[in-house]
């Protein structure tokens, strides 16, 4: 590369965990700062440039307030490539968990009748509003995958992430299958790999934090759990944690109350 790509790293409504994951690349931060011209990153630096056109924008978080949408559209407008980082930006994440309940009702339940200062809209991922060039899910994102994407972009290529299930990585690590052996609600077969089966390797069922694989077999997954005596509600509650907009799009969790 003859010219350093100009980049910005942004957060919409989120926990900032994905930006933190980037900051946690301690050994590589200097290389990152050296290879990219970081113009705008409020979380990490002062004197941010808010106007110059960007080669790449990394966007974390979900559109959950009207001001998120304004910010997102402004980012899109000034960036050649937009990378959605983290499950919130890619799938909606936890902020979208109760999307099937109107915001008005939720506001009243949480803040009561009196307070009306919250500017909440239905939480939706970045790609519901603007063209998104690259999707890097994860809650938070995996450091290795982020670095791989950064390297590809520096090299001038669109990055390529494998669309395998968590089950495949889980099997490679020879973990006891939490569905087969323990009858637990493990989202491994629904969920895209990349974490190296982090949770099942610690005996914790996959919560689906990377979001669904490209072609999830919903019905077969339901049948699989139901055969093990797990109710539809339990399954839906579990699936709803990270990718509710996707499941609602499939009309799979409209029944939740």
């Amino acid at each position: 590369m003859n010219k350093k790509p100009k980049i910005g790293i942004f957060g919409l409504t989120s926990c900032a965990g994905d930006q933190l994951a980037i900051l946690n690349c301690e050994d590589e931060l200097i290389t990152i700062a050296d290879a990219f011209d970081i113009l705008d990153w409020e979380m990490a630096k002062t004197n941010n440039d808010k106007v110059t056109e960007l080669d790449i924008a990394f966007v974390e978080g979900v559109v959950a307030q009207t001001r998120d949408l304004e910010a997102l559209q402004a980012i899109r407008k000034r960036s050649k490539l937009l990378v959605a980082i983290g499950t919130c930006a890619v799938w909606g994440g936890v902020a979208a968990m109760k999307n099937q309940i109107p915001r008005e009702i939720l506001k009243k339940e949480v803040y009561g009748e009196e307070i009306n200062v919250v500017d909440a809209v239905e939480a939706l991922p970045v790609r519901s509003f603007v063209k998104t060039d690259i999707l890097l899910p994860g809650c938070p994102i995996e450091k290795e995958q982020f670095l791989q994407i950064a390297a590809s972009l520096l090299h001038g290529d669109l990055p390529e992430l494998l669309n395998f299930s968590v089950c495949s990585e889980c099997k490679m690590r020879e973990n006891p299958c939490l569905v087969v052996e323990k009858g637990e609600v493990c989202c491994g077969a629904l969920t895209v790999s990349g974490c190296n089966a982090r949770c099942p390797s610690h005996n914790i069922p996959c919560g689906g934090c990377h979001g669904p694989i490209e072609e999830v077999h919903y019905d077969a997954n339901y049948t699989m759990f139901e055969q093990r005596g797990i109710t539809k509600e339990e399954i839906q509650n579990k699936m709803a944690n990270f990718a509710t907009p996707a499941w609602m799009g499939q009309k799979l969790i409209s029944e939740i109350k």
Binding site: H155, G156, D157
Partner: protein, 298 residues
């Protein structure tokens, strides 16, 4: 009772040349042909390899763009003209896109040649009918030039090539100059010969590639081998025509595309039934094709 495998057997297999390691080559020239279909010329850095890299028309290589990845690319040059490997590459995926961005003189990796290639030895003494549609000319150009360079070993040679417009004709200058040669019948057709100011005038026919059959008389079908390559719709009509003319199914050679990732029959991606496109193909007879339900979708 003799064991099937002995330590000696394993040792010898552990000592072989590593087929997964590419050879370093240099991208010596890029020649734009048509939109997103350029001709790339490569030379091995090891001068010896330029002489010893023996391939057959219809074979392919695995091309590495360093830092990006690897993709199967068919060879468009002929082994009869040594020194430079020519590949007509369509800008399609990550690797080919990166190749288009490479400056001349960059290093790349090449391994191969892979695949069966056209059975040129068995084709000798026969008449050859080459039919190409669109980008299908890329692997067939190798066969065409191979036959031209060994002209006396083959019978009658007919080329029919059809594209949508004159701007889509691969190797246009080269093929147009062949129309003046007396030792082959070179017929080119475009569906629309629209002109714009400054465009090179179209001197070929207007119509579909199958319309070109009217210009060739007295094909000796039993002694002719047809080599065809093109998009699915092309196959549908060309095959219909050839079968009507009573071409035997194993006298029709097709070049197929699959995901040939390792090139050496191991990774599994290009398997169709028990055939591997990278080992048993990419050249198949039409008989092979119809006997493998997964093989092609028309």
């Amino acid at each position: 009772m003799t064991p099937q495998h002995t330590l000696l057997d394993y040792s010898s297999k552990a000592r072989v040349e590593n087929v997964m390691i590419p050879h370093i080559a240099r991208l010596v020239r890029v020649i734009p042909m048509v939109q997103d279909n350029y001709l790339f010329l490569f030379r091995f850095e090891d001068p010896h390899l330029n002489e010893t890299f023996i391939y057959k028309p219809g074979q392919f290589v695995e091309l590495t763009v360093i830092g990006t990845g690897e993709a199967p690319i068919s060879i468009s040059s002929t082994p009869t003209r040594k020194g430079v490997l020519e590949m007509c590459v369509r800008r399609m995926g990550r690797v080919t896109n990166a190749l288009y961005n490479l400056p001349e003189n960059s290093f790349v990796g090449l391994r191969g040649p892979y695949g069966n290639g056209y059975p040129v030895d068995d084709m000798k003494g026969h008449d050859v009918l080459i039919i190409a549609g669109g980008l299908g000319m890329a692997p067939l150009r190798s066969l065409l030039n191979y036959i031209l360079d060994n002209r006396n070993q083959f019978g009658r040679l007919i080329l029919m090539y059809g594209t949508k417009t004159p701007d889509d004709v691969l190797f246009r200058d080269e093929l147009e100059s062949l129309t003046r040669r007396g030792d082959l019948e070179c017929l080119l057709a475009v569906e629309q010969a629209y002109q714009y100011p400054g465009a090179h005038p179209w001197r070929g026919k207007i119509g579909l590639v199958t319309d070109l059959f009217q210009y060739v008389k007295n094909i000796n079908v039993p002694n002719t081998i047809a080599a065809i390559c093109g998009p699915p719709i092309f196959y549908k009509f060309v095959l219909e025509k050839l079968l009507k003319m009573n071409f035997s199914k194993d006298h029709i050679l097709m070049s197929l595309e699959r995901r040939m990732e390792c090139g050496v029959g191991k990774c599994g991606h290009c398997a169709i039934g028990y055939k591997y496109t990278c080992i048993d193909g990419p050249i198949f007879t039409y008989w092979d094709v119809i006997n493998m339900p997964e093989l092609i979708e028309f």
